[in-house]
Amino acid sequence: MANILLIDDEEEFTEVLSARMETRGFNVDVASSGEEGIDKAKAKSYDAVILDMAMPGMDGMETLKHLLNIRPGLQIIMLTGHATVNKGVEAVKLGAADFLEKPAEINLLVEKIKQAQEKTEILFEQQLDKKLSDIMKKKGW
């Protein structure tokens, strides 16, 4: 079961979206600010993070940079408003996996999470391969 972190300051939005995602088989943790999201990502490994762009204090873009800094390769899907679609593109250039315009359609979001999960598994396998290869080189096998 995939572990998802949902970061958005609109608490009613996270409440309903997380309930809907849980019925689709995801484990969902919620954070209402960038700072809280970073703390949760430090403490636990997530298959994907859904991150709102416009939040009080630390905004989505800044949170994205911190998350990628502490967890390189973390699959982050940005949620943008109409006016912040350009920022979504900018976020992808910075390393976000994808972005979705609010209001996000659940099936599309689930599809993007599954793609993110697959990327996480591929990255994990690549890292594992590299580690094995390094060990083999070191030991001269």
């Binding site: 609109e10 009613e12 009080p56």
Partner: protein, 227 residues
């Protein structure tokens, strides 16, 4: 961005039109973003209801409290949306007449409500302290709101996270004063002071900085133009 107000009258008018539109756009953008959040919650709630119905078809009965929560959430968000639309509608109509008789409590309360999201994004609290009695003057509602917004925006972009900005409306012998104050002693630099003065000149208003080492305090004065 620092703007030097031009001396030429037609250039001044051009700048006032451009910056006026920019102010209108900033408020409209913030409101549309907030309405999009309301819409997102309603859409997800409708989706949740769809999930419950799909579950019922598969033999998972819907509990009464689940339906009650869905109903309450939709009601809460539609009320929120209605409040936002009313505020935006009042603001949009403030450009109907260049000079009008304005009830200042209502005007300031409305623009403060519209600016709360922008303040909140900077983790700043915005509160309005109005008069208990009606306080009316003849002036330009749009230019008063623009001047107030431009001053407040400088507070928002200063590093005042966690602070409260109070906007106090008081009567004055010539009209009204609006005091924008915060207990933070940090320097709030008014970047576009020349342009604010140009706006104020159109309605014989003025701005004074009364900040000291303990607080930031800027006062805007607007005379009653019917006098």
């Amino acid at each position: 961005m620092h703007i030097v107000a031009p001396e030429d009258k037609s250039e001044q008018e051009k700048l006032l039109r451009e910056k006026g539109l920019s102010f209108f756009g900033a408020i409209a953008a913030s409101v549309s973003h907030e309405l999009n959040n309301v819409n997102s919650i309603i859409e997800q709630t409708a989706g949740l209801l769809g999930d419950l119905l799909a579950g019922a078809e598969l033999g998972r009965p819907i509990k009464e409290e689940q339906l009650q929560r869905v109903r309450d959430r939709i009601e809460k968000q539609t009320h929120r949306g209605t409040r936002i639309i009313k505020r935006m509608n009042t603001f949009a109509h403030s450009v109907d007449y260049p000079i009008a008789e304005i009830e200042m409590n209502a005007l300031i309360e409305n623009i403060i409500s519209l600016c709360k999201r922008l303040a909140n994004l900077k983790k700043v609290e915005l509160e309005a302290e109005m008069q208990s009695d009606p306080l009316s003057i003849n002036s330009s509602p749009f230019l008063i709101q623009q001047a107030l917004f431009l001053v407040m925006r400088n507070y928002f972009i200063s590093d005042l996270a966690g602070e409260t900005i109070s906007v106090v409306l008081e009567p004055d012998k010539e009209g009204i004063v609006i005091i924008i104050e915060t207990a933070a002693a940090e320097e709030v630099e008014i970047e576009d002071l020349d342009y604010i003065k140009l706006v104020l000149n159109q309605i014989q208003g003025n701005i004074s900085n009364q900040s000291n080492s303990e607080k930031t305090r800027i006062m805007l004065k607007f005379p009653d133009l019917s006098h």
